[in-house]
């Protein structure tokens, strides 16, 4: 039986972690994630979970001890934001290269300099090619649901890769929303017992983790990792199907909103997708065929499926909450462009950078973009392929 609550994103994810009840959690405080791990720590102090906490002295050590704990042979979690994720960067590759199913909510926040504690996607976008699976979440419900599904995806015997669950700092982490919990037992049954694979703690079969591999085999090792990553999409869909049976909530590789017959469309991840959907509705009411695509599995990126879903549109704007500087485009734009490149007939593709460092994204911004797309669809003329919106000139 689902329980309906009013809850913040951080609290929702903390409860998902409590319900899964991992063996080890390594945590280090950073805004806006702190509140999530504080909540989880109180579950530990109150004996609501069996988890052993490692209260490390840095995020670098958080990820390092997660690697040790996961290789030892159990379920391991941590969480971070921004600078914390940046500090982990070196070990993110080691976690994925060693094929360790570590689960990490990332409460998205801008990167320094200048110092800023508010939500944007520069942190997780910077870590998009670290070999981790990334699931992005629009709201507290999705962050909760993605966290629960992440364990099944990460621990799947064909996958064994770490997963980041991304949710917007403050906008989702600290805002109260309506959400439905699953029962503790339902979550535990859904996630199941952790299955060990070559655990360090197995004294009968001593294993060596982290060998040196020189040019003779390094590339084969990387190719094998690429092959594993290519299996992630189907596992994500399989887990989503089971999750729908349990919760009634449907998940895919991405969400399409009024996209099937659309002529113009927005591509946007996380919380701003919610705002944009309302504006898409307004445009539909006015008889303009607008739609939206919201990536969920962002890494490994489902290029084929995304391209198929967007190819029939006349004009598409990818909204990025992170930028690659100096004339390049935002990270999501680059992936969408790649997914469409192979098609002869494809939409005109523009890029808007929005919401950096927590700058509000308002319905009027979506409206401006959709108006521009309608004009492009009509005339075929593009004024600017990349532009910052809601910014002082």
């Amino acid at each position: 039986m689902a329980k309906i609550v009013a809850i913040t994103g951080n609290e929702a994810v903390a409860h998902a972690l409590r319900q899964v009840d991992p063996d080890v959690c390594a945590a280090y405080p950073i805004t806006p994630q702190t509140d999530m791990m504080q909540r989880f720590s109180s579950f530990v102090s109150d004996g609501l979970v069996k988890t052993e906490l490692i209260l490390v002295e840095s995020e670098h050590s958080a990820m390092s001890s997660c690697v040790g704990a996961s290789a030892a042979g159990g379920r391991v979690i941590t969480a971070t934001s921004s600078q914390g994720l940046a500090l982990m960067w070196e070990i993110l590759f080691i976690a994925s290269g060693t094929r360790l199913p570590i689960i990490m909510p990332v409460v998205n926040r801008a990167l320094s300099a200048p110092l800023n504690i508010h939500g944007d996607h520069s942190d997780a976008m910077g870590a998009r090619d670290t070999g981790w699976i990334q699931l992005w979440s629009e709201n507290a419900q999705e962050a909760y649901d993605n966290t629960i599904q992440a364990f099944r995806i990460a621990e799947h015997m064909d996958i064994r890769l770490p997963v980041m669950i991304c949710l917007d700092g403050f906008i989702i982490s600290h805002s109260i929303e309506r959400m439905e919990y699953l029962e503790d037992e339902e979550v535990r049954n859904f996630v199941g017992e952790f299955k060990q694979l070559n655990p360090l703690l197995d004294l009968g079969h001593p294993v060596s983790y982290g060998p040196l591999i020189l040019p003779d085999y390094y590339m084969e090792y990387r190719k094998a990792q690429d092959e594993v990553a290519s299996k992630v999409s189907s596992v994500v869909l399989e887990v989503a199907e089971d999750f729908e049976k349990l919760s009634g909530r449907k998940y895919g590789l991405f969400e399409t909103y009024r996209l099937e017959d659309a002529e113009i469309g927005l591509v946007i991840v996380n919380s701003a997708a919610g705002t944009s959907k309302d504006v898409v509705d307004e445009f539909r009411d006015r008889g303009i065929k607008a739609g939206l695509l919201k990536p969920r599995l962002y890494r490994p990126f489902p290029y084929k499926e995304t391209g198929e879903a967007l190819k029939h549109l006349k004009a598409v704007c990818v909204l990025d909450r992170a930028d690659a500087f100096g004339g390049s485009f935002g990270p999501v734009y680059l992936d969408i462009a790649t997914s469409l490149y192979q098609y002869k007939k494809k939409p005109i593709l523009i890029n808007k950078i929005y919401g950096l460092g927590g700058r509000d994204y308002l319905p009027e911004h979506a409206e401006l973009v959709l108006n521009e797309l309608a004009e492009i669809a009509k005339t075929g003329t593009v004024k600017s392929y990349k532009e910052y919106i809601s910014v002082r000139e």
Binding site: I54, S58, S61, S64, A71, A72, G73, V76, L200
Partner: protein, 318 residues
């Protein structure tokens, strides 16, 4: 649980770092590792910082380690083993594992004194039941003899070469053993492979103490020290006998010198056989020899005072 440390008994034990590893001939590190593992009567799981020992002992598809072993990165051997140890405690608490297992981290001086100091300090402060072993060869040997904060004053290294203007390293060595003692952990010790019985007794003692333990073990490197290939044990003995590397332990805050040389040898006895100090024996660098001797005398005096003033509380490592 503790077995006798006689050569006869030890010869019956399996060597857990197998031969065929690719460390240089005459390297001190594998000798140190073998002694540590021989002294362990419990099953041991080890983490290893990136460095000579790590790159030479596990080159896919081969491993020299007969114990479970993990290499993560350069600066995080302590954090890594703290994760393994925590998972062990979690699974033990849940009744999923019942064996008594000990946890150890091996790192060189670069991975311990320098880049890994934060990770080590954090793990020690958190109180993990683990032993950290630093095999200290006094420079970044794996990357080609660059200076570290463990490199002695005056030594010639590739990043602070002895030149016509600068006479090698011009900074003091960091006293890591004392830094670790300042963490107020239950056991800190310094050891040398030349005094194998002392080293192994300290390891045995460490395993009987619950909580974080740290051992700093000198480990000669003939490539970096520019010494003879077969001089590792001789040089580590000279390091002890000149008090360059005093053997002592600090148990629950009480310092005890575990080996007092009958006659303290002059530091030049340790420096002379090593090419890295060759330039110090020229007239213009005489002041460095003098300074090195003064530094050692002062530290030895301080250590003796620390040790004698706490004599009543001292205990034997046997």
């Amino acid at each position: 649980m503790r077995k006798l440390l006689t050569l006869k008994e030890l010869s019956k034990k399996e060597i857990l770092l197998s031969s065929g590893h690719r460390l240089c001939s005459g390297c001190g590190a594998p000798t140190v590792v073998k002694m540590v593992l021989l002294a362990s009567d419990y099953p041991v799981i080890a983490s290893n910082a990136t460095g000579c020992l790590e790159v030479s002992s596990c080159i896919s598809d081969y491993t020299a380690w007969k114990i479970p072993w993990i290499h993560n990165a350069f600066e995080n051997a302590a954090a890594t083993i703290s994760g393994v140890e925590t998972m062990y405690r979690s699974l033990k608490k849940q009744g999923k594992i019942d064996k008594e297992i000990k946890f150890i981290a091996f790192g060189g001086d670069g991975g311990t004194y320098d880049i890994g100091l934060q990770s080590l300090s954090g793990a020690m402060e958190r109180g993990h039941d683990m032993l950290y072993i630093c095999y200290d060869n006094e420079a970044y040997m794996n990357t080609g003899i660059q200076r570290s904060s463990a490199t002695p004053y005056g030594a010639d290294t590739t990043t602070r070469p002895a030149g016509s203007v600068i006479p090698g390293k011009t900074e003091q060595r960091k006293n890591l053993t004392r830094i670790m003692a300042a963490h107020n952990i239950p056991y800190v010790a310094q050891a040398s492979p030349s005094h194998w019985m002392d080293l192994m007794k300290k390891v045995q003692k460490a395993w009987e103490i619950k909580g974080p333990k740290f051992m700093n073990i000198i480990s000669p490197c003939n490539r970096g020290w520019r010494s003879r290939t077969d001089d590792a044990i001789l040089l580590s003995r000279l390091a002890v006998e000149t008090c360059h590397w005093p053997l002592y332990e600090i148990e629950n805050g009480v310092t005890r010198i575990t080996f007092k040389p009958k006659e303290k040898k002059p530091i030049v006895d340790f420096l002379k056989p090593q090419g890295r100090f060759k330039h110090l024996f020229s007239f213009e660098n005489e002041w460095i020899l003098k300074k090195l001797q003064e530094d050692i005398d002062r530290e030895w005096k301080r250590l003796q005072k620390e040790s004698s003033s706490e004599k009543e509380g001292g205990s034997s490592p046997s």
